[in-house]
């Protein structure tokens, strides 16, 4: 097990290297550079100054090596667009809001999605099942900017129950609960819908298994059958999709953060691409790659916990 973890961690190095390389190459191939975002043409003299300031006057391969060397030492460079703020500082600050929102949305998605899935599988073709299928279809097909604005118009503008926007940490990293409700729902609905569907089909499949019938035949309480025999076996596919899902949620959403005015890292990631902010693009991409890789590792380890047949 320890050996497996170490091997996986070692694999991270080449993965991150190629992610960085591909991002770097694509970033330089795309037409338009970081100085094409001033809204005006700039003088050749200013271009030379900026190139020198941010090291773009070096040969491209050396720029890449410099980035790699600095990244190894934990220095992700500086942002071009937010003049000279360190990228790692921007990520750290943005993450305070993004990660907390992501965790809220994950909890929402797991609780709502998995329970809906189980209930609708156990009561197949009942009203609850249809309602859950409707929810899954609705959640999967409503874009988050539509849902976000709809929620704002209903709950903030019309009813006046909740604030329109904002994310102010009240206690440590925990925000004002009123501010958190709408973005959590907006961000969590899609994964909840997805999880509900996966859970439903996974549980349905397990229900057909002989060992479930055996368990029931032994006279076990239905609750024990559900928790120990059905759910545990149905968890594998749920876990498989949860990994990337969680990684996706905690790294933020451009749309949800923009619509609700949340000072997160998700919108920085997208904005940096439009702004050709090379420093931010490299820093955030590398960070995302790391989060996704770690989430997958955690999922793989959890397989072993859930299913004793899986051994590393």
């Amino acid at each position: 097990m320890t050996g497996y973890v170490i091997r996986r961690l070692l694999w991270l190095a080449p993965v991150l290297f190629f992610v960085a390389l591909i991002t770097f190459v694509l970033m330089h191939i795309v037409p338009g550079g970081p100085w094409d975002t001033k809204g005006r043409p700039i003088s050749p003299q200013l271009e030379r100054q900026l190139d020198a300031k941010y090291g773009l006057d070096e040969p491209v391969w050396r720029q890449f090596l410099t980035f790699g060397w600095n990244a190894l030492r934990g220095d992700l460079g500086i942002s071009f667009q937010y003049q000279d703020r360190p990228v790692s500082e921007i990520i750290r600050e943005g993450l305070k809001a993004t990660a907390v929102l992501g965790i809220f949305a994950t909890i929402f998605a797991l609780v709502v999605g998995v329970s809906l899935g189980i209930v609708s599988a156990l009561r197949q073709n009942s009203i609850i099942d249809y309602a859950s299928v409707f929810f899954a279809t609705f959640g999967a097909s409503t874009p988050s900017f539509v849902l976000g604005i709809l929620l704002i118009v209903i709950f903030a503008v019309q009813l006046g129950w909740l604030p329109v926007y904002g994310w102010d940490q009240q206690w440590w990293l925990i925000p004002n609960p009123k501010q958190a409700i709408l973005p959590t729902i907006t961000l969590g609905v899609l994964p909840a819908a997805y999880l509900a569907r996966i859970t439903r089909s996974s549980v349905l499949e397990v229900l057909q298994q002989d060992y479930v019938r055996t368990a029931r035949a032994k006279g076990l309480h239905e609750w024990v059958v559900l928790m120990r025999h059905i759910l545990r076996n149905a968890l594998i596919p749920i876990l498989t999709v949860s990994g990337p899902l969680v990684a996706n949620l905690v790294t933020g959403s451009f749309i949800v953060e923009t619509v609700f005015g949340i000072p997160g890292i998700g919108k920085q990631f997208v904005t940096s691409i439009f702004q050709r902010d090379y420093g931010m693009i490299m820093g955030t991409t590398l960070f995302y790659a790391l989060v996704v890789a770690m989430a997958n590792l955690v999922v793989d380890l959890l397989y072993g916990v859930v299913d004793p047949r899986i051994r590393y």
């Binding site: 809204g39 937010y82 503008v157 005015g261």
Partner: protein, 565 residues
Amino acid sequence: MRIPFMGWRLLAVVGLAVAGLFVLAACKEEKAGPSGDLAADQVARLWLTGEPTSVDPSLADFDVATTMAKNLFATLLRFDPVEGVLHPYAAEEIPTKDNGGVSADGLTYTYHIREDAVWEDGEPMTADNFVYSLSRLLDPRIGSYYGTTFYNELIEGGTELSGATDATEAEIADLKDALGLRAVDARTLEIKLTRISHTFNLLMALWVTAGERQDVIEKYGDITNSKWTEAGNVVASGPFRLAQWQHGRRLVLEPNPAFWDEELTPTLTRLVFEIIEDENTAFSAYQTGEVDMVEVPLANLKTVEADPNLSKELVRVPQAGTFGFDFNHREPPFDDVNARRAFCAAIDRATLVDEIAQGRGNPTTAWYPPSLVPYFDEARGAELAFDADAAKADLDAYGKDPGQVKFTFANVATNPGQVEFLQGQWGTNLDANVKLDPLDAAAFQDAYNEGNYTMAFVGWVQDYSHPENWMIIWKTGGLLNTSGYSNPDFDKTVDDAIAEEDPAKEEALWKRAEEILVDEDVAMCPLVNHETVVLVKPYVRDFIITGVDGHPGDNFYWKTAVLEH
């Protein structure tokens, strides 16, 4: 960032300005100053379209950033936001030849700093603060847009310094010593210019020339460090101090307790800038009263105008900006002036503004904006005004088939709708076949800079209110001139105007320059003067939205007060 505003505004975002002076009507009615009807709680909550890129005055080149820099740091001169005229600020008076502030040859300017001018921490403002900030502005390691665009060629030694990208630290120090900047004594600043300039005092009123503290900036690192701009580290010299900067969320300004200019001292106790990137969210926040000011999203403009309450809170602010499209002069069909005139006269600007832009903006055929008095001429570009028959006649005069023509634009915001309208106009009025070529914003700018287009959107918003700012850019090889337009007659007229000492002749030359550019050469095709449309709560008084030296919606907050509500 500023993604929300690209498009017509894309080419403009940088230094808007102008003359679209505007003061709420309430202020005119009320002759008395702040009176008993002010709320006890003087807090204004304003909408910011995005995180400021910096509050460093030397680096601020986007609207939200310049807004902050201006409220935090004092310049030697300033513009009155209402009248638009120059006033002394940290300087005792505006230097002129009459008061001895400008030397007889017009090349040396001397500014005397007010004795009572101090920083937030009580330190006096000194000539050294300005020598430091101006030499930092020109420092190649900073990469300042304004420094390297407007000041480097004007201040003695500036070109050498800003061009020294490969210099060592010692060489840069020498080049800085060689600059035409000198602290004669603690309160006297002397600046030597490379040439006569009629606009230097205007430039000295822009936020980028604000004094800076070497000890404050370099306490946190080298001259490019950003750490000094964080709340708690900034030492202000303007009407406000930076009380809080929660990145991506909000900035809070509070009155600077040490501020020394009584006239500019604010009555507000707090100015909260809420950062909301989505304009629809901002509009909702205005409706629920979470912010006191917001720009109206284009899609909501007609609804707001029809609403009995909201329409009363609507404020229209003209921008000193002109938008239109550019022709590539290097290749057919637009190497021919008749083809250019035909394509320009074929556009029904009134319909473009009313139907496509929802009534936002004003049609124009001139390059100078109406606020540029006395240079603006209403009759300018008369032959470019919409006239389908004249356009057809011009195309006949061209005599050839223009073939398929490409129109390049940034595929953001409201651009696609505008462009489809233009395409329709050319199709209907000229039977011309125009192909649309949408690009990502940065890719568009890249194509524009390289002159890689047949037709493309172009726009300019002024940095300071003077025709010089509108014309130098169109000279052969000028900043905005990527289209290959070149007319020695035009270039000479501009150079003559810059050097002309006699004001009457200077005025005539600037007018002549625009006549050549627009009427005779149709170098590009002006379409619209843009405007900003905002909603302001009725309890916010004297909310000035101007930008005499800056941007649309570029604001001065010292006059603002909150009424009881």
